[in-house]
């Protein structure tokens, strides 16, 4: 488990298997939510992650263990739904108001 304060988050990366489909879709949704807070959102295949990739990594629950292996010191937030998963609202709240992000 790793922790970062929401106030210190500047770069969020959405990881998926290929970094081609779902991560791109989610990236564009999240950048709309997080851009006003000065946070960039990018996407990456899970195998190309490392601890320099992002302040926070989001990925589907099924890929979370691979993501944690690739970026052991970066909080990894798993989600199940590509639209409206509560993880996204929690992330936005932590970035906006400050607060720990664990994952």
């Amino acid at each position: 488990m790793s922790t970062v304060n929401g106030k210190d988050v500047r770069r969020v990366v959405v990881a998926c298997e290929a970094g081609m489909g779902s991560s791109v879709l989610l990236m564009t949704q999240l950048s709309r939510q997080l851009a006003p807070h000065g946070v960039t959102v990018d996407h990456s295949p899970v195998n190309r992650l490392d601890d320099d990739t992002a302040d926070v990594v989001l990925c589907h629950t099924g890929l979370a263990s691979r993501a944690r292996q690739a970026a052991p010191n970066t909080p990894v937030l798993p989600f199940n739904m590509f639209m409206g998963d509560p993880a996204f609202a929690r992330l936005e709240a932590a970035i906006k108001d400050g607060g720990p992000i664990d994952g």
Binding site: G21, V24, L25, T28, Q29, S31, A35, L63, F82, M83
Partner: protein, 157 residues
Amino acid sequence: MADPLALLTADAVRLQCTATDRFDAVRQAGELLVAMKAVEPDYVEAMIQRERLLSSFVGEGFAIPHGTDDARALVRRAALAFLQFPDGIDWEGQEVRACVAIAAAENEHVAVMSRLARVLMARDQAEELRTTTDPERVLELLMPQPDDVPQPQKETL
């Protein structure tokens, strides 16, 4: 920037399709990308492999099948295909009525995916994509708009 029109063309839109299951749907989508000479034939198997690994269902009755990271080498040119399944397909317990299949080696398709994300959030547009009988309407709905990809607001120093 790649011309978004070149990524999704009228010949890549198939309405009123039927499929026996989700793998059949993914195979049909892949074979369409092969027929369009966007991918090598082996890309279809990579799409099915990706689907077995993790469902490409994204919500609102849509799935976005695509290849694996390793299969990028099999992409000849970035392209999208749109297949509508009005009867619905069981997608691991979810119902899918439309697939947007992706062939991309890099980030050529980000603009169209951004538009798709916005269409899925606007439920009436998602419904129209699932049900329209006009291929031109599919192209119109997925045509990228200037404000689809927001830029982060930099803090002034």
